[in-house]
């Protein structure tokens, strides 16, 4: 009896396991199918290869990027076809989805490298593995346009003070980039400032008062659900954007990752150790005690956060526009423009300058590298050079003349119908034309730079941005005497350029002790900051002191020292 049931149950459990395996198997099939079009496209291109003397014989290069590109159309879009026609090169692209850093680590460890690698800060792993080529000579011999583009900044392309090789063509930061609009700071719904008669929003006290006054007038929305004063986005890495970075912005610090660096002495401090920031978190603690902070701030997931914003009930945010944009888009689609958000440079007190626009100078670092497995580095660099040429840049940004833009009296103009599609049918437009898909492939000029014909290289320029504002936004801006949100913020010229760029852009060597220490520090911070904010105000100081001691115990001083050495090495590298 026992024997029988034993075997029957064993057989059953085996079947269950087999069933589970089958389940996994079919999942993988799904993935493969999804991938196969790109693989096929790649193969076709290689099959038709015929060694012609010209450089435009078909060549397929594999390309890996750490940033997702959901609209990538395997170069079957109009720009992609033009690029293949001009250079013969087709890209077989793979974009990281999910945890990009992990994906890069896996590729770096695998020993099989894509021909072109765009891995942002993870490039250090490829450099450590000896996977990428030194581009110094290639650029010198074959890439006149890149050379012209990076003129005066060539020393910034070098990898490190110990290793002067150029591994990366910086493609994330545009040369001469100017910002015309602000997307950060503290946000308030337009209806809040409108109802309160456009009060001055400069300090956290102003900000708090605006929310409090509006909530007193309208505790509930039209459906009877309570309005929410301020909600934060603390899901995973969003913690940086919405909880911890605002702490230094509100206290006059600029973005150097988790550190604050003195612009003159380059003394590095883990930014939570600055006494000013204690006041900032104390203010958040006070907001919580007053019931103005959404109690779900530290529990909600990202999608719940966006859904909450889309409900229109959230009066205030502390976030970047790209982070909460999906929620606001839903509001705009419903025509609820007065529930959209404006950006205000809020600081702890009126004498502190909000440092969102602290200039970094040209920031090399993140960009594209050529791997040692690349079959033809010379043609690859020529391809990247073509993208960086005037012709290539206009193609990438504007599209094809006569189709996506016309030249009228020497000026590039986007026809009305094209512009409409660009805004209202963005996904399909991008897939068909390829505009915006190739910008991160090679070096390029930033917004606000004009080409020899007197036109801007990119399609982002002041007139264009103002044209994109809705009427409510324009009305609010007018009341504050501004044309864009940036006008409210302190200007770049008011700050001294940081000679090291930004600390978050300085790669840490893979085997450095700092890697583990900083991870530990982040673990402590992410645990302690929410705890301190949600604590009873009387307990705040106690928790904060315990937190500071924990940081010291976790070797924060050593991490600061290592960072300081890296920053000083970067300053030397970039400015000698």
């Amino acid at each position: 009896m026992n024997q029988i049931s034993k075997w029957s149950s064993l057989a059953l459990s085996t079947t269950l396991v087999a069933g589970m395996l089958a389940g996994c198997g079919s999942n993988n099939d799904g993935n493969n199918e999804a991938n196969s079009p790109s693989a096929n496209a790649g193969n076709n291109a290689t099959n038709t290869e015929s060694a012609a003397p010209e450089d435009t014989s078909p060549l397929t290069l594999s390309y890996y990027s750490e940033d997702p590109s959901p609209n990538w159309a395997n170069m079957q879009d109009e720009i992609g076809k033009t690029l293949t026609e001009k250079t013969g090169i087709t890209l077989d692209a793979e974009f990281a989805v999910g945890d990009a850093v992990q994906k890069s680590s896996l590729i770096a460890a695998s020993g099989e490298y894509p021909d072109l690698i765009s891995a942002k800060q993870s490039i250090a792993k490829f450099v450590d593995a000896g996977a990428v080529l030194d581009l110094t000579d290639l650029i010198d011999k074959y890439a006149p346009h890149l050379k012209k583009l990076f003129e005066g900044n060539m020393s910034r392309l070098r990898y490190s003070d110990d290793d002067h090789a150029i591994y990366v063509i910086p493609s994330y930061n545009g040369i001469g980039q100017q910002y015309f609009n602000a997307g950060g700071g503290f946000e308030l719904q337009h209806r809040v400032v409108k109802e309160l008669g456009y009060p001055q929003i400069k300090t956290v006290a102003d900000y708090e008062k605006a929310i409090k006054d509006y909530l007193a007038l309208h505790p509930k929305d039209e459906n009877g659900n309570p309005n929410i004063g301020l909600t934060l986005n603390a899901d995973d890495w969003h913690m940086y954007i919405s909880v911890t970075n605002p702490a230094f912005f509100a206290t006059g610090g600029s973005d150097d990752g988790e550190f604050n660096i003195d612009v003159d002495t380059q003394k590095v401090t883990y930014h939570f150790r600055r006494p000013e920031e204690k006041d900032y978190f104390k203010w958040l603690n006070h907001m919580n005690a007053e019931g103005l902070l959404d109690p779900e701030s530290f529990v909600q997931k990202y999608d719940q956060y966006k859904a909450k914003i889309a409900s229109g009930r959230v009066l205030g945010l502390i976030d970047q526009d790209w982070d909460y944009g999906d929620g606001e888009k839903a509001l705009k689609a419903e025509g609820k423009f007065d529930q959209g958000y404006g950006h205000y440079p809020v600081t702890m007190s009126a004498d502190i300058k909000e440092a969102s626009f602290w200039p970094t100078g040209f920031m090399a670092g993140s960009g594209v590298a050529i791997s040692k497995d690349n079959p033809d580095p010379v043609r690859t660099i020529k391809f990247l050079d073509y993208l960086a040429s005037d012709e290539g840049q206009v193609l990438m940004n504007w599209g094809i003349e006569g189709k996506q833009y016309n030249v009228v009296d020497g000026k590039r103009v986007i026809p009305e119908d094209v512009n409409n599609r660009k805004i209202n049918d963005a996904v399909n437009f991008t897939k068909e034309t390829g505009i915006g898909l190739y910008n991160l492939l090679s070096g390029h000029y930033g917004d606000g730079v004009k080409d020899p014909s007197g036109n801007y290289y990119t399609t982002n320029f002041p007139e264009q941005i103002v044209a994109g504002f809705n009427d409510v936004e324009k009305e609010v801006l007018k009341a504050y005497n501004a044309t864009t949100w940036k006008d409210l913020f302190p200007k770049e010229e008011e700050f001294k350029v940081k000679p090291w760029g930004a600390a978050w852009n300085i790669p840490i060597p893979g085997d450095s002790e700092a890697v583990v220490i900083e991870k530990k520090l982040t673990d402590i911070t992410w645990k302690r900051i929410p705890e301190a904010i949600l604590a009873k105000p009387a307990d705040f100081d106690k928790i904060w002191d315990a937190y500071q001691q924990e940081l010291v115990k976790a070797d924060v001083e050593k991490a600061e020292k290592i960072r300081e050495d890296l920053v000083k090495a970067r300053v030397k590298l970039w400015n000698e």
């Binding site: 009896m1 026992n2 029988i4 049931s5 034993k6 029957s8 149950s9 064993l10 059953l12 459990s13 269950l16 945890d99 850093v101 992990q102 680590s105 896996l106 770096a108 460890a109 695998s110 020993g111 792993k125 450590d128 593995a129 000896g130 996977a131 603390a234 899901d235 913690m239 109690p295 779900e296 530290f298 529990v299 909600q300 997931k301 999608d303 719940q304 893979g510 085997d511 890697v515 583990v516 991870k519 530990k520 673990d523 992410w526 645990k527 900051i529 929410p530 705890e531 949600l534």
Partner: protein, 323 residues
């Protein structure tokens, strides 16, 4: 004399050995098709379970990608030393074991009770419906389950809070997911909800294997339903229970991390971090491949010890075991 006997014994043994060898080959030849049929599976197991063990060598190196095996830096047990000196490691061990034990206790008791109860239901239609509804959540991904759970526990119109408020048990919504001490319980309960029906199937199958004659005999002897359950149903599925228990004790330390990762947040971090997540975050994500491997070796060794210990104990006590 002595020498003669020993040598003759030796000869005897030799012939015996030869005979055994010959008989092995004879059986092998006779069963050649069976052997050939099992060959693919042996290869499969070797390729996927034994060949990767070669990678364990990484734990004793300071592994750097793109270097050949011989060029690696050998560091002995350094990676393990780092592991055992890390406070976080002990914290994640505590969380892993705590959630595992809670999971095993709840994940065993509930399906068994549910299976026995279902078995007693005489209305076939109701039985089928109850069974189907209960195992459907198994097919829902953890991402979705985590979304449902956090919505239910939300303070903003969450069902649980609404019900508790309506009953007057609390006068302010409770932030369940922000309370570190509730976390293990929430994970266990959501796991039970998701897997209960699925785990019941195996017990129902075992119960179906019990001969009806035994129940009839019990009835004749005047046993009521409770007695029948206690004396026939439960003993009938005892070996299934024990086999599954031994196997899950072997997996005690490998509980995956989806539930903890998806349900957790920074406030409950001290209670939500588990070993697998630790090896991912502190190993692979930092390119500390050797360290990650060391964590996993530790993992496997503990699992094997647990498995053998459980097997041995049950063998002694109940005379049931899987080996």
């Amino acid at each position: 004399m002595k020498a003669v006997t020993t040598s003759s014994a030796g000869v005897q043994q030799q012939t015996l050995g030869k005979k055994r060898e010959r008989s092995f080959w004879r059986t092998a030849l006779r069963n050649r098709y069976l052997y050939m049929m099992s060959l693919p599976f042996i290869i499969w197991v070797f390729v996927f379970s034994y060949y990767p063990l070669w990678g364990w060598t990484m734990a004793f190196q300071k592994f750097k990608p793109a270097k050949s095996f011989w060029e690696q830096d050998w560091v002995g047990f350094d990676q393990f030393k780092i592991l055992f000196q890390d406070d976080t490691f002990y914290l994640v061990m505590r969380n892993t074991l705590a959630m595992s034990f809670m999971g095993i206790i709840a994940g065993f008791a509930v399906p068994i009770v549910f299976a026995v109860l279902l078995n007693e239901v005489k209305n076939m239609a109701f039985k089928r419906v109850a069974q189907t509804i209960s195992y459907l959540p198994h097919f829902v991904s953890w991402v979705v389950v985590a979304g449902i759970v956090s919505k239910m526990l939300s303070t903003d119109h969450g069902t649980i809070n609404e019900v508790l408020m309506w009953l007057g048990l609390i006068d302010q919504p409770i932030q369940f997911l922000a309370k570190p001490h509730y976390f293990w319980g929430i994970v266990t309960v959501s796991d039970v909800w998701k897997e209960m029906g699925w785990n019941t199937i195996i017990y129902l199958a075992a119960i179906a294997g019990i001969s009806q004659e035994m129940y009839e005999a019990a009835k004749v002897d005047g046993a009521n339903r409770i007695r029948q359950i206690w004396h026939i149903t439960l003993p009938g599925i005892r070996s299934t229970i024990i086999i599954l228990l031994i196997m899950s004790i072997g997996h005690l330390i490998q509980i995956g991390f989806e539930k903890q990762f998806l349900l957790g947040n920074n406030l409950v971090r001290d209670y939500s971090q588990v070993l697998d997540l630790y090896s991912l975050e502190y190993g692979l994500q930092m390119s500390r491949y050797s360290f990650g491997t060391a964590v996993n070796i530790f993992n496997s060794v503990v699992s094997i010890i647990l498995l053998f210990a459980a097997n041995g104990i049950f063998k002694k006590i109940t005379k049931e075991s899987i080996m």
